[in-house]
C-alpha cells in the first residue's frame, strides 16, 4: 500500500505551490514512498472506536473585549514587503492567461 507515483508528487507540488525540479520530484517520490510505508503503521494500531485527538490540552474559544488594542503602523506592516505601491502589497498578474511582463513595468 501507499505507493506514491511521480505524477502524484508533481500534483502535490502544484497544490503546495512549490516549483520542484524534475530531479527533486524523482528523489521525493522515492523518499516519500519509504516514509509513507513507515508511517502506515498508524493503521494497525487504532480501532474505529478510538476518538481522534487534534489537540493535547482541551481548548475552549477565547474571546476578548471589543476594544482597540495596539496595532502595527502601516510603515511596519509594509516594511518587510518585497514590493509595495501606495500602502498596498504589489503582486504580479493574478490571472493565469495574462501576458508575461517584467516586474516593475
Amino acid at each position: 500500500m501507499s505507493d506514491i507515483t511521480r505524477d502524484e508528487v508533481a500534483h502535490l507540488a502544484e497544490l503546495a505551490r512549490i516549483d520542484l525540479s524534475d530531479a527533486e520530484i524523482s528523489s521525493l517520490t522515492d523518499q516519500l514512498g519509504q516514509i509513507l510505508q513507515a508511517v502506515a503503521q498508524v493503521n494497525e494500531v487504532a480501532t474505529p472506536d478510538v476518538p481522534a485527538t487534534s489537540h493535547p490540552i482541551p481548548l475552549t474559544n477565547v474571546f476578548r473585549e471589543d476594544i482597540p488594542g495596539e496595532t502595527l503602523t502601516t510603515e511596519q506592516v509594509f516594511g518587510g514587503a518585497p514590493d509595495v505601491e501606495e500602502h498596498m502589497f504589489r503582486v504580479p498578474s493574478i490571472l493565469g492567461d495574462a501576458p508575461a511582463t517584467k516586474q516593475g513595468e
Binding site: I4, E8, L12, A13, E14, L15, A16, R17, I18, D19, L20, S21, E24, L28, Q31, L32, Q34, I35, L36, A38, V39, A40, Q41, V42, N43, V45, A46, V50, P51, A52, T53, S54, H55, P56, I57, L59, V62, R64, L72, Q76, V77, G79, G80, A81, P82, D83, F89, V91, P92, S93, I94, L95, G96, D97, A98, P99, A100, T101, K102, Q103
Partner: protein, 504 residues
C-alpha cells in the same frame, strides 16, 4: 576575570551583578568575546548583536547604580533561538526565504526577557523552520557540537544548546515540537525543558506544528533552567492556546528538591533495543541513583509509544504544510520571479518557495499536503490523530501509578555531521523518546546523566510529568544533578575538551 565570568552559572552571575561585584557590561563583553573567539568553529549564532547588547547592559548597570530594584536575572546575557521574532534583530527560522527579515514585533517570550532586563546577545542557529534533529538542515550551515566539532549538536535547537555548552551564553531560549530542546540538551551535556503545552506563549514564535510547538528554557544547570522558565511562563492573551492559571516557582522546586516517596516509572518501551549500550548503561545507573535518593522506582508500560514517531510524521507535516503556506513572497520575506512561463502571482509563489525552502522543508510540506488530501485523509491524518489519543491514554494510565516517568532522552550519542542527512527516516528516529510528550502535551526535560563508555560523549536522562506539573521535572532533575555532580567532582561540561580560541 573574563574567562571566569563566562563559566559562571546564570544564578551565580545574577548574584554577582546584584552585589555589584560584576557589571552587566563586563559579563556581556565576556560573552561577546567568547562568541568571537569560538563561534567561527561552533557556529551557534546566526546573528550577534554586539552594540545593542552592550547598550542594554550599560543601561541595566546605570539603573542598578541609581538604586533601582531590578528583576533577578537583570543584566544576565541570553541567546535567542532564531524561531522567535525580535524587532531589532533579523529573524529567519534558519530559512533563506526569510533571509534578512527584521520583524515589526517581538515574540512574547522575547518581550518577557526584555521586561526582565536581560541582555539579548543574538540569534541562534537551527534546522530550517525547526525541521530536523541535527541543525544540518539550517540554510546557513550546521552548528558543531562543542564536545567534538565533527559531530552534530542535536536539533532543531542545536545553536542554543551549543551556545550554552560552549560557554558563549549562560542561558538560551528554545522551541520543542518533537524534541528540539531536549535532544540537543542530551547530545551536548546541557539542560533543557519542554514545558506543558500552553504554559509558555507561542506568540511571535514562527509556527511549525501549532498543536505540538512549545517554547522553553535552555541552560547548563537545572537551577538556571528553572530561573529562565520562571521568567518566560505565564498566560498570554495573544495566544489562544495559552493556559490561564498560576504556576508555582520552578526555582523553588529546585531549591527544595527531595525525592523521598516520589514514585518514578521507567517506561519499558523506551529501554533496551534501539538504544546505544553507553546510553543504556548510564540510564540504568541513573535509575539506581533515584532509588538510593529515596524514590520508589517501578517499571510501567506505554504500549502505544512505539507508534508515536509514525503518528508524529503525519500530524507534523500536515500542520506544517498549512502553517508554511504564509511564505509566499507577497507580504514579507523573499520573492523570486519564475524564470520561464507567465509571470503570474501563482508562478511567483511557486518560484519563491522552490528557491526559498530547503529539501527537508519541501519533503515535509509535500508529505503534509498528501496526508491532508482527499482520499488519504482518513487513512493517514485521521488515523494518526487516533494514535495520539492512545498515547495520551498510555500516559494517563502511567501517571495514575507514578508521579514522573523516566527514559533516556535520545537513542544514541551525537553522531557525525553528514551521517544521517540524506536518510530522512534515520533522522526521524532520533526523536523516538521525545516525540510522545509533544503528542500528549505533557512537560519533559533532559538533564545530563554521564558519558557513554564507547565514545565519551554526553547522554541525558529524560524526565516526564503529567500536564500542569512541570515542577516535578525540577524536583527529580535537581537531585540527579546534585548527586552526579558530587560523584564526578565537577559538572559534566567540565569533562568537555577546551575549545580553541581564535586570536583576536
Amino acid at each position: 576575570m573574563s574567562e571566569d565570568l563566562i563559566r559562571l552559572t546564570a544564578a551565580e552571575l545574577a548574584d554577582h551583578l546584584a552585589s555589584g561585584e560584576v557589571s552587566s557590561v563586563e559579563a556581556t563583553q565576556a560573552s561577546l568575546d567568547r562568541i568571537h573567539a569560538v563561534d567561527g568553529e561552533v557556529h551557534a549564532f546566526l546573528h550577534v548583536a554586539d552594540k545593542a547588547a552592550l547598550a542594554t547592559a550599560a543601561e541595566v548597570d546605570r539603573r542598578r547604580a541609581a538604586g533601582e530594584e531590578l528583576p533577578s536575572l537583570a543584566g544576565v546575557p541570553i541567546a535567542v533561538k532564531d524561531v522567535m521574532t525580535t524587532k531589532d534583530m533579523p529573524t529567519t527560522s534558519g530559512s533563506k526565504i526569510l533571509e534578512g527579515w527584521v520583524p515589526p514585533y517581538d515574540a512574547t517570550v522575547v518581550e518577557h526577557l526584555r521586561n526582565h532586563d536581560m541582555v539579548l546577545l543574538g540569534k541562534t542557529n537551527m534546522d530550517e523552520f525547526a525541521m530536523g534533529s541535527s541543525t544540518e538542515y539550517s540554510a546557513y550551515g550546521p552548528t558543531h557540537n562543542p564536545w567534538d566539532l565533527d559531530r552534530i549538536p542535536g536539533g532543531s535547537g542545536g545553536g542554543s544548546a551549543a551556545a550554552v555548552a560552549a560557554f558563549e551564553a549562560p542561558l538560551a531560549t528554545g522551541s520543542d515540537t518533537g524534541g528540539s530542546i531536549r535532544f540537543p540538551a542530551h547530545v551536548t551535556g546541557t539542560v533543557g525543558v519542554k514545558p506543558t503545552y500552553g504554559q509558555v506563549s507561542r506568540w511571535g514564535a514562527i509556527a511549525l506544528a501549532s498543536s505540538l510547538d512549545q517554547m522553553g528554557p535552555v541552560a547548563r544547570t537545572v537551577l538556571d533552567t528553572a530561573l529562565l522558565h520562571d521568567v518566560i511562563k505565564g498566560h498570554d492573551p495573544k495566544d489562544s492556546t495559552s493556559i490561564n492559571r498560576e504556576w508555582p516557582s520552578f526555582a523553588d522546586a529546585v531549591r527544595q528538591a527531595d525525592l523521598s516517596g516520589v514514585r518514578v516509572g521507567v517506561i519499558r518501551q523506551l529501554t533496551g533495543e534501539g538504544f546505544q549500550a553507553g546510553v543504556r548503561a548510564r540510564f540504568n545507573e541513573a535509575v539506581t541513583l533515584l532509588t538510593k535518593a529515596g524514590a520508589d522506582v517501578v517499571e510501567v508500560d506505554c504500549p502505544h509509544i512505539g507508534s508515536a514517531v509514525a503518528a508524529y510524521y503525519l500530524i507534523l507535516p500536515a500542520e506544517a504544510s498549512s502553517n508554511l503556506a504564509r511564505f509566499d513572497g507577497v507580504r514579507y520575506g523573499r520573492r523570486v520571479m519564475p524564470e520561464t512561463g507567465p509571470e503570474t502571482v501563482e508562478n511567483m509563489m511557486a518560484a519563491t518557495r522552490e528557491a526559498g525552502f530547503g529539501p527537508e522543508v519541501k519533503r515535509r510540506i509535500i508529505l503534509g499536503t498528501y496526508a491532508l488530501s482527499a482520499g488519504y485523509y482518513d487513512q493517514f491524518y485521521g488515523q494518526a490523530q487516533k494514535v495520539r489519543t492512545l498515547i495520551q491514554r498510555d500516559f494517563d494510565a502511567a501517571f495514575s501509578q507514578v508521579d514522573v516517568l523516566v527514559s533516556p532522552t535520545g537513542p544514541t550519542t551525537a553522531f557525525k555531521l553528514g551521517a544521517k542527512v540524506n536518510d530522512p527516516l534515520a533522522m526521524y528516529l532520533n526523536d523516538v523518546a521525545t516525540i510522545p510528550a509533544n503528542l500528549a502535551g505533557i512537560p519533559g526535560m533532559s538533564v545530563p546523566m554521564g558519558r557513554a563508555d564507547e565514545d565519551g560523549l554526553p547522554v541525558g536522562l529524560q524526565v516526564l510529568a503529567p500536564a500542569m506539573h512541570d515542577e516535578r521535572l525540577y524536583t527529580v532533575a535537581a537531585v540527579v544533578e546534585r548527586e552526579l555532580t558530587a560523584a564526578w567532582g565537577k559538572p559534566l561540561l567540565g569533562f568537555a575538551p577546551e575549545l580553541k580560541e581564535a586570536s583576536k
